[in-house]
Amino acid sequence: MMDSKLQAGHQDSQSKSPAESGPAYWLSLEELEAHPGMAERYENEFMASPLSADDNGFARRDFLKVMGASLALATSACVRRPAATIIPYAKAPKEITPGEANFYTSSWFDGYEGAGLLVKTLEGRPIKLEGNPQHPINLGALSARAHAEVLSLYDPDRLRGPRRNLVNKDRSNSESVSTKFEEADAAILEVLKKGGVALVTGSKPSPSVRAIIGDFSRAFGVRWVEYDALSLESVREGQRLSYGRAVLPRYRFDLAQFVVSIDADFLGTLISPVEFTKQWSKRRTPGADMSRLVCFESTMSLTGMNADDRVRIRPSRQLDVAFALLNRLARKGATMPAGLAESAKAFSAAEGEAGLDPMFLDRVADELWKKRGTSLVLAGGLATATAQQLELQVVVNALNSVLGNDGKTVDHDSAVFQTYSGSAKSLATLIQDVAAGKVKTLIIDDLDLMTLLPKDSGFAEAIKKLENLIYTGNRNDATGRLSNWVLPVGSSLETWGDLELQSGIYSIQQPTIMPMYDTRSLGELLLAWTKAGSASARVKASETWLDYVKATWSQEIQSKTDLGRGKAFNDFWIELLQTGVAMSGGRRERTSSARAFVGRVSVKPAPNRAVMELVLHANSQMMDGRYANVPWLQELPDPVSKVVWDNYLAVSPAWAREQGVKQGDVIEITSGDFKMRAPAWIQPGLHDAVCTMAVGYGRKGLGKVAEDSGFDAYQAAMFNAGQPIFSGRLVELKKTKERYELVSTQIHHVMENRPLSLETTKAAFEKDQGSGIHRHHVFTIWPEHQYTKHKWAMTVDLNSCTGCSACVVACSSENNVQVVGKRYVMEGREMHWIRIDRYYKGDMASPDTVFQPVMCQHCENAPCETVCPVLATVHNDEGLNDMAYNRCVGTRYCANNCPYKVRRFNWFNYVKKRAEPLHMAYNPDVTVRTRGVMEKCTFCVQRIRRATNVAKDEKRPLRDGEIKTACQETCPADAIVFGDLNNKESRVAKLFAEKRAYTLLEELNNQPRVRYLTRVRHAERVDEKHGHGGGHAAGRAEDRQDQTTCAFEGGLV
């Protein structure tokens, strides 16, 4: 309005030309002369905006808006996001909803350990493996290696199609050319028809695969040999010598009150560690009948670290321990078996020089005698594969029979193991026949025998005599390169199959993805070949491998299971696919009668030699090295030494000090003509005359990840014509000047007298359940924040946690945690969201060990939240500490201020480094973090979000246990419990209230939402001085407890 009046006024003066009237006052000479330009200048002088109000519609007020908008637009260059497309299915499969996961039951078996699976698939591809809760063996839990199957499915280095190696006479060259399966079938069929065929496989506990192998061998007269690299043939053979029937018994840890293990790592690697850990952790709940474990060990194994009492022995003394216990039991009134009496006498005479503490053995024998029928003695695994492995098994069986355990804690017929059915003897005879030229064609299934067999097996020379070597495996590894044909079998997630881990317990294996490459499973291969030969009825009837599996199940398995009895096959099949497992009920609960012990043994105690003994053993993350190319497992900190990406030669601290050997010095191991080099790792708890090394590392040809990780220890074993010796070999160690960088995620192993992973004794616990915990007086002047909806919390029971680290891999699989590689772990940049801290206590020669899984504690007064300058980490209304990745700038002050050091930073853009198909294993529910962003455990917030939404949609309160975090779900020991504190009935609320519960670093008043339950140890030490080799410096556990608490009398700043 204003300006228009102004203009009007202006026009009047302009109408009279200035010249005639002659202004009374003039500002400048030009105005006086009425210079033509003056009018126009007057015009603009008072007009605030150069755009007049009326003609093109811009009012003065709009001027600011337009100028601002155009200015801003000019500066921000019209930031419209690039056009994105959205492509629906043409014909949508009905079971797939984008973003929603489907779960399929399946089974996993890696040649040694097996489990029932629930495979989480998303849009047609598996992204995570979880345990099948209905499978009786693993009850929903999974070991670290089981999770790795997903990454081995998407492994970029596995073969993508059959290959034909143009091999010359002595198989020395290695050019290989890719071919088609049809071409390979044609050529192989002619060869098969010529006869003289042998098939070597790992142990195959799969009914349908055994059936097809049966048909195949009948069709072509094929000789089938099973062989396991980590063989337990000595246990089966020991059973046959003791009771007449070779069987791999099932140990009932749920019934065992007192367990004596002689180099048997049943919590880490022996037979079925997940099942044993499940049973073991239930019996460890503190109370009167808490079970007890005594270990006599030459290696420092996971089981040894969980023992109440651990005695370090030389492998050659394993038999002495067994006989010592047998003699003591005999003196207590047990009947000494006739076949062992004479050897027992020899051992009792030579007991003095074995270096074992007689008083400790007396107490162990007393305990065993008291717990007759509910105790268990076991020995097995590579560490017991000495020259006298059979004798050891017989004596251990004798102990179990004498103690009445046979049939009770040693189940020998109701549900025995079908795994480890390989036999080295039969492989030895086969190799001789191959060398003698009796075998024309050898088919090897997924067993890299060139690496797995020691040199003295003669395999390398023997295969030169072969006309044809066919290798069915996913890698062109050492054996693959020498074979004429390499036929990739793909992953178990791509093919049908089944599993009978224990007799009578059958589970199905479903494919969860279309085969990614041109691969055929072993079953499909054999089916195709057998169809061309003289096929059995079942082979003729089944068009595809699925038909054959269905036929096997309907003819052989359905009638033996409760699920299948009296039902049409199709109904049974559908229900089987949903539950995943079928068995006849009550099979696993039955105990049976004791068998008659008929074992005979004649052996003399080994002389006392001051020479170093080498013990080879398997570790739980690598086993025989089949998964060496999976980054998760290579970077998983070893449960014992926390070393990543490498194996090592472990030596005792005393020996190292004496030889002046430091961590990482390369040691040359020589024994006769065998020579090998490996870096030294100082491992507390080893006998001074023992050095140990893990097999499964340093395998060639598996792929880029496995390329130079570790040292091949198989060559240090001796095939010994069918009775392989992995332990007890006499070696000389010589320190060389070289060094090798061994990287571990924990470089300090002692708690420095700080109350972190707390422990108490059974006696102290019975008096006061809160013993061992020093409560700190913590107060706050602020009222506690009230959580109306949920109040998430977690407890970790340190008494049941065995430190197996399965949770670390499960967490990485669920939350897209990156693997960074050896160099960056050395620089302290590993990304695991949960780490298992392992501390040694007491005398370093033979320490006690405690574990503590540490993840983000989601503190109430979180020190990280106050210092983040951009509010990237704040507390939410459900008690969680939210980490908003997109808001994080990366100052890293939160990581500095976190006393638990659980925050992980993306130093580089690791996402870009992930090779191509591996990215298919990402979980789309969890943001994949880019470079420069902090990340940490979020209590699996995506699972919380999904479950609470479901509960809200169904208009019902959330049930306790409906949300399971990935670590809780996979934990074989059920040590982790997650839940809502606002729900007073929830397990976690009850555990929070337990007197055994304490918070880590309570004195800092962070009010963490994670509470630990103290570990209770059977510490009625047998006596002051006991067979810990040099006595236990810290004496009884109670004294040790006082020692840790006294440092805390002072107040706190």
Partner: protein
């Protein structure tokens, strides 16, 4: 003795601040000579080498910013390393300049006039060098603008005003603006002098613009002095507050070894200590580079500064002692371990370098001869700054590398980039300082002239 000189003698005989019987004209000529004369060979050599180091620095920053923070030695548990240490180091150095030009001005310390300009310049350049670090030490430097509380459309989503890093942003930017304005206002009369003496058109144009129309009238001087006084008043609290807030980056946290209340005074004393160290280093070089300046920045000036170095060195020494005492006295095992580990742990070498350089070496200045000898003071001032860099290294790294849980203890993985960033930052500072010496009068003409006759007989007196 004339009556005037009688009361002169009764006063303490003042030492002349300006030697060599200078007249006002001599002052202008001497100080403007390096600015107006062609650049000397030595100056060019120093400038080119500093600029080379500066380019080297920029290249390495570019590599770190484009590849990732992992190139440096920082890791978990030591998430802060060279960049934060060097940031605190440079911010600390800046404080001496402000102290000289502001606080000593309010205390009417006449001797400050000849060193104030270069000290203040050192402050501005140190803050510029330090200001780079908060931006490039973050994981995603391109999002650093989130550290500023600007209105946005995310709700709006503000910054976390409780975080010491945010206080840093405010403190350092305030410090930069106030000290550069204060320095520039002091320069206006000198630019006017240069403008009037300018021979070439371009020089007159530039210095004319910079002198903002200064005509040296009484009116100008009245306003100038009032502004200078006010700015000195404003800058004084900054000397104490900025480094207090920088010390809050550590003191506000929970870490044993950081979480102590002595940090603010300890850091401020350390800052002034290292600041004077750098001033002494620079001025010894300037006096050698421009011999005429020896009459203005006399040995007495250097001696006074050396005394301040010794005093603040003792304060810092006291702080080390008090930290140990408090750790013992508190009975908190984490604190006790943190300090025992500092002195005897894997990084003990850095701790003892710090103690020797900061506490033991400055004690040389008790001896008057050393206090007044240029080579000795130069060497001592270099050691002072080495000691102060290691002090921040000790605070940051040794407390982080072993804190509460022994399982997460680790070592700092020093890499080539750490060395590059550290040495490169000196390149930046020296380049700017060399340019300053060439284009700006290194001594304040306007302030030196009024004190010409301090401690000297005014010619033609009655």
């Amino acid at each position: 003795m004339s009556e005037a000189s009688m009361n002169m003698a009764s006063e303490v005989a003042r030492k002349p601040l300006i030697l060599g019987n200078k007249t006002y004209k001599d002052i202008s000529d001497d100080i403007c000579e390096p600015v107006e004369a062609a650049p000397g060979k030595r100056w060019l050599a120093l400038l080119l080498s500093a600029k080379g180091l500066f380019l080297f620095y920029l290249i390495h920053i570019a590599i770190v910013v484009s590849t990732g923070m992992g190139l440096l030695g920082v890791n978990s548990p030591i998430a802060w390393g060279t960049m934060i240490i060097t940031f605190v180091f440079w911010i600390g150095i800046g404080h001496a300049g402000t102290l000289i030009s502001a606080i000593l001005f309010l205390f009417r310390q006449k001797w400050r006039t000849s060193v104030a300009r270069s000290a203040e310049a050192m402050t501005v350049f140190a803050v510029m060098t330090a200001g780079i670090f908060p931006l490039i030490h973050t994981g995603r430097p391109w999002l650093d603008f989130w550290l500023l509380p600007y209105p946005n459309q995310r709700g709006p989503l503000w910054v976390n005003f409780r975080s010491p890093l945010l206080w840093d942003v405010f403190a350092v930017s305030t410090y930069a603006t106030v000290s550069s304005v204060f320095w520039y206002v002091g320069l206006v009369p000198d630019f006017a002098t240069l403008r009037d003496r300018a021979k070439t058109k371009i020089r007159r144009l530039i210095y004319g613009a910079l002198s903002m129309g200064w005509r040296g009238s009484a009116r100008d001087w009245a306003h100038y002095e009032m502004v200078y006084l006010i700015l000195a008043g404003l800058s004084t609290p900054l000397v104490l507050s900025v480094h207090t807030i920088v010390s809050f980056d550590f003191a506000v946290s929970q870490l044993p070894g950081w979480h102590t209340t002595i940090f603010p005074p300890y850091f401020v004393a350390g800052a002034i200590f290292s600041g004077f160290g750098m001033v002494v280093t620079l001025l010894t070089l300037v006096r050698i580079g421009f011999p005429k300046f020896k009459d203005y920045i006399t040995i007495d000036h250097m001696e006074v500064m050396n005394k301040i170095i010794m005093a603040t060195g003792l304060m810092v020494g006291y702080a080390y002692g008090s930290e140990f005492f408090i750790a013992w006295y508190s009975g908190n095992p984490y604190e006790q371990y943190a300090f025992i580990n500092r002195a005897f742990g894997p990084y003990a070498w850095s701790y003892w370098i710090m103690v020797t350089c900061n506490v033991i070496i400055p004690q040389l200045f008790w001896v008057k001869k050393f206090r007044r000898s240029i080579p000795v003071m130069f060497v001592v001032s270099i050691f002072v700054n080495i000691g102060m860099w290691f002090e921040r290294f000790v605070i940051t790294v040794t407390s982080l590398h072993r804190d509460f849980l022994p399982s997460s203890w680790g070592m700092y993985e020093w890499s080539w980039f750490d060395t590059a960033i550290l040495s490169g930052s000196f390149g930046m500072f020296l380049t700017i300082f060399m340019l300053y010496l060439k284009f700006v009068p290194a001594i304040s003409i306007a302030e030196v002239k009024p004190v010409l006759y301090v401690g000297r007989q005014r010619p033609g007196g009655h």
